[in-house]
Amino acid sequence: MAAYRYGYSAVLFILCGLSVFLVTNGQETILTGDDGAAAVDSPQTVTETAEQTAEQPAVEERQWEVTEVEEASPDEAAADKQDASAPETLVPPSVPRPKDDFQEELVIRPLHSGDIYASFQFRTLWETDFMRGNKVSHYRLFPKSLGQVISKFSVRELHISFTQGYWRTMQWGQPFLPAPPGAELWVWFQDSVTDVDGTWKELTNVLSGIFCASLNFIDSTNTVQPSASFKPLGISNVTDHRFLRYATLPREIVCTENLTPWKKLLPCGTKAGLAVLLKSEKLFHSSFHSQAVHIRPVCEDWQCKTTSWELRQTLSVVFDLHTSGQGKREWSLFKMFSRTLTDACPLASSSKVYIDITDNPEGEQFELIPATPLLSQAVVLGDRRTFSVYDLTQQITFGAVRSLNLLIRWKSTEGDMLRPLLHGERYVAGYGLQTGEIHTLMYNNHPYRSFPVLLLDSVPWYLRLYIHTLTVTSKAKDNKPSYIHYQPSKDRVRPHLLEMLVQLPPNSVTEVTVQFERALLKWTEYTPDPNHGFYVGSSVLSSLVPSIVAMDTNSTQERPLFSSFFPCKEESSYFVRVYTEPLLVNLPTPDFSMPYNVICLTCTVVAVGYGSLYNLLTRSFQIEEPSLGLAKRIANIIRKMRGVPPL
């Protein structure tokens, strides 16, 4: 049994160590001449990845590899691709590097529904050590408030996200950075921390102040310690989940008061660079808004001799075609953000705008104005994507008008999105206020490959899960999870935690159901709006999904035959985290109004009156006869002895 479990924990390591951040950052762009013939390669390193485990930092590096392609002939490009890959964090060694570094970028992906997805990423790297006794006092690019948080609370990794809206996987595909609706916070502490719960409590309160959010509502009743779902994303040799805390606040509303402190963490503020686009009136006039801060230690170079701290601030937003007014399928930076770009942040070492043009190689889907000769290719979420790149550090990008207003004009409305391979859904079944059933659906849309999914469910204590009713079915057959970690709840102390590793058969829906009973709260425990319902946070599906690139054995791109027999290992699967919808559950709620008072009063009266009523019903009443005189009593005794009825 132990060996069995160990085998799976190894799988889990690999599964979870891979980061969600394995996204678009890793590109090298090359400016090509008009002839389009010259393909320039810088010396690259091919990283060996086959036997690496998640604990080694290089595992994540391997996904950062890029292939680079220019407008050269396709076969040339394909040939280049084989050795054209490099870890992204490498900076050309000749440049003397400052100890800290700031990069900014914006990725825009036109979606098939006509909506548009814009994702900002700002990265600050700082080669310092917060943990070494001596206080770090001199801050340049790294925000001081966060630096102090890291050193004071001995944080190893911190991930916090604020999201308004739900990412529609079926319409929009996979996001670069998934996040559940509301606020999500997960923190790995250093193994030197002794009182993890106390530190966590303090940390949430401090973060609550920094981000102006209700993170102080995080307490033991909504904090869990996932055993497998959330592994460190940076370099780390600690995977003991005692040092991990995870909490979500599905009810948190995200608005400008959270955006402003987030923007203040940027080195350039909103004065220059990409951040000028972050105007709240437009960002919140959208279908989806998510902002996040991720702090983690990363390697300085591929040999990992020194480590540095990475602060990554991300902001994703999806603009809706229909609510944007004109209904024309046309997007520009000005229309999206009501600003245009005029410069890069002077402190940034790199400042780029990427437009995803994968579906538009010949320009038949949409038109991109102004055109750019810069192209870049990267494997993002298992799919090979092509991007047009605008380098804001180059003056030429802004042209004669000294401002960049990208315009995407759709030409046709056709074209179908590839269905996302993994997709989750959740709902409450049943009616009435006594019991119910939580259904979680996991879709594997892969035509022939099955893959394991790690499901994490954290349910508040006031829904009492009947864990014996837990069923996992796929294709109408029982699907036995290979790993189950269940921590029962304690009333008013901690929530239920359920983690399962489930193998999803190809092209199937796997349904996880569990029944629950709704608890009666104490009357002070109800929220001010109890009839709104109570929230249950999203469940988290983490998985290594077979990639689309590997799926494509009969590639339309011309590649040498010898390169395409075995599916390429480093692209064969990729890490995905999918969040389901949060649930809104009604609990039995007393009517906190005048009738409620009347009922209370009536009950009191009945309780008081009960005694006398009971008395009345059980006793038999008789009229007391006046006591007899002594003479009569004696006479009666005599009569009794004689056998004559008494007087």
């Binding site: 609706p181 709902y427 009616y431 709104h532 919808e581």
Partner: protein
């Protein structure tokens, strides 16, 4: 309490109650009826008011412009419906997708227990189409529903308007809840399939395919029925399954917007009148209220909204009515009305819960709350309790009287003999109560199960259709139950005693009181109508009254005849009187519909009548033929 614990005064009180029992009962009955009739009198009722703050104070501006286009869409829908000969699923999916909704379909099938002759259906197969408007920046936790049934003949304008509203709503940014636009086939059966699929329950054994898209917990729903391009008034239908009603705030919301936009609105198809002090004005209000009582008592959903109520979703049906009035309202105005209502519902922070769930409406602007109408019912049930008290006192008197006489006879003998005699007196009582109770309930079970069970056999042996077979079997079982008293006596040893019928009546009266009390708590109208007929029966029946006359009265006041009268009365109230012949046919179809409602949607009226009320009435019938 002091009054009761003093034996002298207690005795006096009891003797007063027993002596004046009949007059008090009569007064109570008349007071109950009078109270009920008084409920419709406007000075005694309350004006409706919006209780929910989230809907009350906020201002909403209605801007829906595209009524004409919606009607054109409706015509297009009608053409496609004609071409396909049913629900144009593909066209609807395409149209909804073009409007930017997430579109899903659900197929369902259901074989009815016996053919429904009113709607001519037996094996039902259909598809529901629904599109979800995802609210921007909302996490899919709450939803509102707008539905329009796709019925064979009409309702095309409703579907057109639904699609028009979907298009308009899609372009707005202010939605905080997902909005589900549902076009359901085969009206209630489709709606039942959709709701069961949405909540993943199966209460009635229907086959449906699971839903692919959801919007979280549904907060409110409106069902739309329009069958002409212009309408003169909008009618609000509230009565749902088992007499459940939506929160009164939903009715208030509708009324408020009708007032604001200037649309004529009715309830029970009756316009509101201002001359409450005139006789005709009062009788108008009584008619409106009585219609509501009759509809509620029937326990069936009177519109597609009726099935939502089981899931604690506040819902109502809005019907467009085109009569010969001058004043016409076009589709744009109805669209604006719905837009306003949905925007207000969108503002809700909590479920609708502030206002009343139990009410009667003599007009749209006035209502009678549970606190006002319950006394009418209470006065009727008091009669049962008084009779029970009377019987109890009589029984104790008989017993103590006998006991005393025996006692005086046996004085001087051993006490063992006394015990023997008294046990001799009480033992047949228990048996005489138990046997009729069991037998009448078995008859009830037969009434509940046999009609469906024996339909095939009946069709084989008699020249009737399945539906007729079911209804006629039900009536036959019901009538056969009347022969019971003669049969029960075979099980009893010897003649029924004087004490025996008293014990039986005491049990029956208390049983009826509990039964009616519980019914009235859930469905006041049903409880009240049953009390109106059954309480006199329970009060007057003894074995000593003239047999033929009282048997006739008893039959007249039995549940089946109550239903028959209700059918005629309902037609009368709707100003569509029927001849006896048509009325009888209508009566038969009402019985079959009631049975169908039970099997299709889980209405509880048929089992309640068959398993509880009818056996209870049989007990009284038994008492009449005690000797």
């Amino acid at each position: 309490m002091g009054l009761l614990s003093d034996p002298n005064r207690r005795r006096a009180l009891i003797s007063l109650l027993t002596r004046l029992n009949t007059p008090i009962c009569l007064v109570c009955y008349m007071a109950g009826v009078a109270w009920f009739m008084g409920l419709a009198f406007e000075p005694f009722t309350l004006r409706t008011y919006m209780s929910e703050n989230a809907m009350g104070s906020t201002m909403v501006e209605e801007r829906f412009p595209a009524g004409e286009r919606a009607l054109a869409t409706g015509r297009e829908f009608a053409a496609h419906k004609k071409k396909v000969g049913g629900m144009p699923v593909d066209w609807l999916v395409k149209t909804m997708q073009a409007r930017g909704l997430e579109v899903f379909t659900q197929s369902f099938s259901r074989t009815l227990p016996f053919p429904d002759e009113n709607k001519e259906r037996y094996m039902v197969k259909g598809t529901n189409v629904y599109g979800i408007l995802r609210a921007p920046r909302a996490p899919r936790t709450e939803a509102l529903v707008l539905s329009a049934p796709c019925s064979p003949g009409d309702n095309n304008q409703a579907v057109g308007l639904l699609l028009g509203l979907a298009q308009y709503f899609r372009n707005q940014i202010y939605w905080a809840k997902d909005i589900i636009f549902l076009v359901n086939e085969h009206d209630l059966i489709g709606m039942q399939a959709w709701l069961e699929g949405y909540h993943h329950t199966n209460t009635t054994g229907m086959d449906w395919s699971p839903l692919q898209g959801r919007g979280g917990s549904i907060q409110a729903a409106l069902s739309l029925e329009l069958s002409s391009d212009v309408i003169t008034s909008l009618d609000l239908v509230l009565e749902g399954l088992n007499g459940q009603l939506p929160n009164l705030d939903l009715a208030n919301l509708f009324y408020a917007f009708c007032q604001k936009i200037g649309v004529l609105c009715t309830i029970q198809g009756k316009l509101q009148r201002n001359d409450w002090d005139s006789v005709s004005g009062y009788s108008h209000a009584v008619q409106t209220m009585m219609l509501m009582v009759m509809k509620q008592a029937s326990g069936r959903p009177w519109g597609d909204h009726g099935l939502f109520l089981r899931y604690h979703i506040e819902a109502a049906t809005i019907k467009g009515i085109n009569s010969f009035r001058q004043y016409k309202t076009d589709a744009t105005t109805i669209g604006r009305l719905l837009e306003g209502m949905y925007r207000k519902l969108n503002n809700l922070l909590e479920r609708l819960h502030q206002s009343y769930f139990f009410y009667l409406m003599p007009s749209l602007s006035h209502f009678v709350s549970i606190g006002y109408y319950m006394p009418a019912f209470g006065l009727l049930t008091v009669i049962l309790l008084l009779r029970a008290l009377d019987l109890w006192v009589q029984l104790t008197h008989i017993f103590t009287g006998r006991y005393l006489s025996i006692y005086s006879a046996c004085i001087g003998n051993s006490p063992l003999l006394i015990k023997y005699v008294s046990s001799q007196q009480s033992s047949p009582g228990v048996l005489s109560v138990l046997t009729p109770l069991v037998i009448s309930h078995l008859t009830g079970v037969a009434l509940y199960t046999l009609p469906i069970r024996f339909q095939e056999m009946a069709v084989e042996h008699f020249p009737v259709s399945e539906t007729e077979a079911v209804v006629l079997t039900a009536i036959a079982v019901y009538t056969a139950g009347l022969a019971l008293p003669h049969n029960t006596h075979r099980f009893l040893s010897g003649e029924g005693t004087e004490q025996g019928w008293r014990v039986l009546k005491l049990v029956a009266v208390l049983y009826l009181a509990v039964l009616l009390g519980c019914t009235a708590l859930i469905n006041f109208s049903l409880g009240f109508i049953l009390a109106l007929t059954l309480v006199p029966v329970a009060a007057f029946v003894t074995p000593h009254i003239p047999k033929v006359l009282s048997a006739f009265i008893l039959v007249i006041l039995s549940p089946a005849c109550t239903l028959l009268f209700s059918v005629f009365f309902f037609q009368e109230l709707q100003e569509m009187p029927v001849s006896f012949q048509d009325g009888w046919l209508l009566y038969l179809s009402v019985i079959s519909q009631g049975i169908l409602d039970h099997f299709l949607y889980g209405s509880l009226v048929y089992p309640l009548i068959a398993l509880l009320v009818y056996p209870c009435w049989l007990l009284f019938w038994n008492i009449l033929f005690w000797k």
